[in-house]
Amino acid sequence: MTAIALRARPPATGRAAAAFWDTADVAWRNLLTLLRTPQALIFATIQPVLFVLLFRYAFGGAIRVPGVNYVDYLMPGIFGQAVCFGAVGTAVGLSTDLRSGILVRFRTLPMARTAVLGGRTIADLARNLLVVAVMVGVGFAVGFRSPDGAAGLLAAIGLVIAFAFAVSWGLVALGLRVSDPEAAQAAAVPVMFLLVFTSSAFVPLDSMPGWLQVVGAHQPVNALVTAERALILGGPAAHDVLVSLIWTAGILLVFAVLSARSYARMGR
């Protein structure tokens, strides 16, 4: 009984491989959870679909964007809106795990520390891919034509997915601090609303009052939507894409560090 064979510390490559598999296992668990609570997935998809229909048919007639078919202007905004609102699920899922005690159990297992957070954001990456794919389909059904062709559209989707991955780290940082899923949701939704609606996601910035234009022009969702439009509608895109990528990298860096720190500090 006293002679317990301790496993030798695995070499660095072995540790990295183990961390990879731990992350994959946690991501798989989160995806199964997502698939088995289809209500959540359906609502995550229905909401942006409603936005498409509302802005295409109810409000769209009143919004004039010179030189562009409004539905082509709208869809890049919808992609950004869909992943921003969907990201709230990241915070809700994590704070649910926090409350249920599953995170405490994970912390007593010999698994990689990073797998809990990585598994969450990677599963959400898969969810975002699905939501964006559905939005592309819905967009085409209501007249979206992606004027600059498939390559531009795919590049724009790549930008959206990268941005969504970074944003989900922001919501991980939130979810780790709030052990009440409803509070997490209440905290996240207004932030996302503000970011989406002060951006040019649905209407051109120059239709807003001057002070709001300043706010709108200097925030990440606007940068994303602007870059997407440049890629989808055609024209010079390099600068806008670079600005969006810088925002994405900055958000990812700041919140991944914050999240990792608060996870490491849990239990102090």
Partner: protein, 320 residues
Amino acid sequence: MSSPPIQAEGLRKNFGKVTALDGLSFQVPAGSVLGLLGPNGSGKTTAVSILSTSLRPDAGHASVCGLDVVADAAAVRGLIGFAGQFAAVDPNLTGRENLVLIGRLSRVGRSQARGRADELLDSFGLTSAAGRLARTYSGGMRRRLDVAAALLHRPPVLFLDEPTTGLDPESRLGLWESVRSLAQSGTTVLLTTQYLDEADALSDQIVIINSGRVVDTGTPAELKSRLGAVVFSLGFATPDQAEAARAALASRGYQPEGSGTDIAVRSGSGSGELTQVLRALEGRAPDPASVAVREPTLDDVFLAVTRGGISQISEKGKAA
């Protein structure tokens, strides 16, 4: 030289202004079950969280199989199983998926995790529910699944934090059986409980804690014997009568306890002492309306401890 599987030395932990642990020390010998007994808020969960590496102590040391729970946390995690106060199973996974996931994360290989999961499902009576989502399980089933999940990598040391809280009597007995057979197979178990009968039924040693420190320790039999062999319960018609009886008993050197119309008197010499007790009342107080002789339970220990009267009892125990 071998270190005890579980050792805590002077553990301190504050949460803001609340002192959860105030210099807690104990150890658990190999292959035994230690019951950490205490009321709500006494620090049981804090102690288990520190020992199972999910919480850091502010001061003091704790080790599992000689490995420090802070400095060697990663190695400690390979040696321990932990089942917390709330059944931490994933409601959206099946019973088997839950176990395989925890097995994988415990670094048991995939095929081994599957085999072990089936084994555990069988021994915890969950085989027929293995393919159902855990959200359809009863409280008892979730709890059993949770304990099974702690055992996937065959840990030599197991922590169970209030494993039967909220369980129906049958599930409770089933879990007791599982803990007993684990202990028989050589697993060292630390379990916390606020149920005295549970500590009595399962533990080789009991450590009673209150306000984050040890207030008494011993085998269940030792703790009970410190309270004397039997307790006489006397019931009176009115509080006044009981008061008179208390005074009479005290004047004869007894230490009557209880309030209102009830009096409890402990005896070290057995039920034969009843006649002396009743004689002590003769002429000084009315006859009791009811008299009962009972074995002391851990409730008696516990009540004495939480009233702060344990030093007295411990002295008596040493003298006896």
